[in-house]
């Protein structure tokens, strides 16, 4: 059982994982952390209208996404999966474009990435993962779908319907709940009746696993097991990674109104990146020199993405009309002409 408070285990271990894997986890988490910091800065500079931080959730995201195979699986994110996208290999300038509000879903190629578009409807994409997974089985292929969602999302009807469908169809899907203990201003106690998201799985006849979301090794293991189960045709698993949203809900939020800064500080100290770094060294999977190099590389990568997104061209107004339909209509073509004559000027 992971610690429900930050007073939990002070260290983690990655002894059960390969050095290559743990180094990769560290590299992605480090890059995500730096990119997150850059993103908050971009928001302060007015380049991003708003930003939702993943700080503190890097282990949950990177380790789970790393357990998926971008060549055959498919990931369905919400609006807070930057670190997962990064670990899964999504083109990150295109990903961050959503935060500059260049295009709602992001500007990466969803089909090529096998990573769904940024989705702002809480709970909405979870049934998509189930549909995708059912489709995979129908075709006889062995891909697995993973749906990210939050503790708040667990309250939505769509999440229940999706889990019930997954159970009935035996769909190869992993429901991955990042329980960061807050849904905007509402804490778990007033959100999740019974107090546990993973406990819900039993009611659908499939396993529910609660894992320390700040322990990259544990998250990886739990997700990999769920993925393997699904791939073997044994159906869905619900993984709940218990973590904490150390930043405001978004840069527009004011958490001072609803939560205690002391609690936040305690969780900041139980930083998943610090925990992993120590575990890597303890396991002998890397030394300080290697990690320093990774840190520098991460820094450069974060800057590259930052510069890329900050300077990306704004979409042309005509794009308003481009993707509404595959087979365009006369009416929309007419409206596009109106736009050209009256707006583009």
């Amino acid at each position: 059982m992971p610690p429900h408070t930050s007073a939990g285990r002070e260290s983690i271990t990655v002894d059960h994982l390969s050095p290559d894997l743990t180094r990769a986890l560290y590299r992605h988490m480090r890059t995500a952390r730096d990119l997150d910091t850059e993103a908050i800065a971009l928001q302060r500079q007015g380049v991003f209208p708003a930003y939702v931080s993943v700080r503190g959730q890097e282990a949950a995201q990177v380790a789970s996404a790393s357990a998926m195979d971008p060549a055959r699986d498919f990931v369905f994110p919400t609006y807070r999966e930057m670190a997962a996208a990064l670990a899964y290999g999504v083109e990150m300038v295109g990903y961050m474009a959503t935060h500059r509000a260049l295009w709602h879903g992001g500007l990466y190629d969803v089909a090529a990435s096998r990573f769904g578009a940024v989705n702002a409807v809480v709970g909405g994409p979870v049934p998509h993962a189930v549909g995708w997974a059912v489709g995979e089985r129908l075709r006889g292929d062995d891909g697995v779908a993973l749906a990210y969602f939050g503790d708040g999302a667990s309250s939505e009807g769509d999440v229940h319907e999706a889990m019930n469908f997954a159970g009935v169809f035996g769909a190869p899907v992993v429901f991955f709940c990042q329980n960061n203990q807050w849904a905007l201003s509402v804490p778990n106690e007033r959100q999740v009746a019974g107090g546990s998201v993973s406990a819900r799985a039993a009611g659908y006849g499939f396993p529910g696993v609660l894992v320390d979301g700040n322990d990259a090794g544990a998250v990886y293991e739990a997700t990999a097991e769920a993925v393997a189960r699904a791939r073997r045709g044994e159906g869905p698993t619900l993984v709940e990674a218990l973590t904490y949203r150390v930043e405001p809900h978004s840069t527009s939020d004011d958490p001072g109104r609803y939560r205690d800064e002391a609690e936040v500080r305690r969780w900041r100290e139980r930083d998943p990146l610090t925990l992993l770094r120590a575990a890597l060294l303890a396991a002998g999977h890397a030394d300080e020199a290697h990690l320093a190099e990774v840190d520098a590389r991460a820094r450069r990568e974060a800057e590259r993405v930052r510069d890329g997104v900050a300077t990306a061209p704004e979409p042309d107004g005509s794009e308003l009309f481009t993707h509404v339909f595959r087979e365009n209509t006369k009416e929309l073509a007419r409206q596009r002409r109106t736009w050209q004559e009256e707006v583009e000027l």
């Binding site: 498919f74 969803v110 089909a111 769904g116 578009a117 998509h128 189930v130 549909g131 009416e331």
Partner: protein
């Protein structure tokens, strides 16, 4: 004209007696046979064949991987369709009745309709939502609703409502083959009415209306079951020497602005008839569109004969709610005497 010739030339079957329910069933059979990616699913569409038997025999013929029941949850049915489409399938979900599309509206509006847009074309949604629609069968509450205004107002959706078996067949082929999401509204009141039909490949482009009865004095615009009612009105009016044109809109999005304008600029008068409540119904759009295109030609404002602004009522009140022949005739009279 060329359109008519092309139509006649299309590969046709000989005329057979079919109800609309059978014609749609035939179309689904063709689609399932021609494209292995087509999937039919929903509540009770499998062994039962749907509450209206529209999917009758399909599971038997194509197996329970191509045609299957889902649990009872409309939002998940449409959400599943999205995921299936993202995995390369061509989903043809059914929602059992119009009024039970509401629980799925979020998935339809926020996901199905805009996934292609959101992903800039990387995740097309070739989904055809089959929705038994409209009233006229004295059914329980929520079984007689007309949601076309909502769907037509939703960017990214196409919407069609056939009015007879032959057209239902072609339009279904067209809807399912389209790479855009289509809401296919089946007029329940017309399901069982059998008539001789030729099953034709679609020939008119998406968004084309059709004149089911040419006339000179006014145009009656309708879709679904109201087309038949308008034809009856036209026949009655003809006895009094009033020659009405009946335009079956069919496609409720995209709307056939040109077809409407062509008809009304000839007849100079229009009456639009629908089952949905008046206020903010699709009749308002038709009236606005016709007026924008034919302002100088119009001899009278477009008349709207619609359901009242009340919840769809139970049995004995149903005929008092739906546009009656008399109400349409009175509207015709109003427009002629304007």
């Amino acid at each position: 004209m060329t359109e008519l010739i092309e139509r006649a030339a299309a590969a046709d079957t000989p005329a057979v007696e079919l109800s609309m329910q059978q014609a749609i069933n035939r179309a689904l059979r063709v689609l399932l046979a021609e494209d292995p990616d087509v999937l039919v699913f929903g509540e009770d569409v499998g062994a039962l064949g749907g509450v209206f038997r529209v999917t009758d025999g399909l599971q038997e013929e194509f197996g329970d991987k191509r045609v299957f029941d889902t649990p009872l949850a409309e939002s998940a049915i449409m959400g599943m369709a999205v995921g299936l489409a993202m995995n390369g399938w061509r989903p043809v979900p059914e929602l059992q009745f119009d009024g039970f599309a509401y629980p799925a509206i979020d998935q339809i509006v926020n996901q199905v309709a805009r996934m292609n847009y959101r992903t800039r074309g990387a995740a097309p949604m070739p989904i055809t939502l089959r929705l038994p629609s409209f009233g006229g069968i004295q059914a329980p509450e929520h079984h007689g609703e007309s949601l076309e205004a909502l769907f037509a107002h939703t960017p990214g959706l196409k919407v069609v409502a056939p009015s007879d078996p032959g057209d239902a067949y072609s339009l279904m082929l067209q809807a399912v083959r389209s790479d855009d999401p289509v809401v296919y509204m089946e007029p329940k009141a017309r399901y069982w009415d059998r008539r001789p039909v030729r099953l034709r490949e679609p020939s008119d482009p998406i968004g084309t209306s059709r004149i089911v009865r040419p006339g000179r004095h006014a145009t009656l615009v309708a879709w679904g079951a109201m087309v038949q009612r308008c034809v009856q009105v036209a026949e009655l009016a003809a006895e009094d020497g009033v020659d009405l044109e009946v335009l079956d809109l069919r496609w409720l999005k995209p709307l056939d602005a040109e077809g409407l304008a062509a008809s009304v600029s000839r007849t100079r008068r229009a009456v639009v008839v629908h089952e949905a409540p008046l206020t903010a119904g699709l009749g308002a759009e038709v009236a606005a569109l016709v007026t924008e295109h034919c302002f100088r030609d119009l001899s009278a404002p477009v008349q709207r004969v619609t359901g009242f602004d009340v919840p769809y009522p139970a049995g004995p009140l149903e005929p008092q709610y739906l546009p009656t022949i008399d109400r349409v005739l009175l509207a015709v009279q109003r427009t002629l005497e304007y």
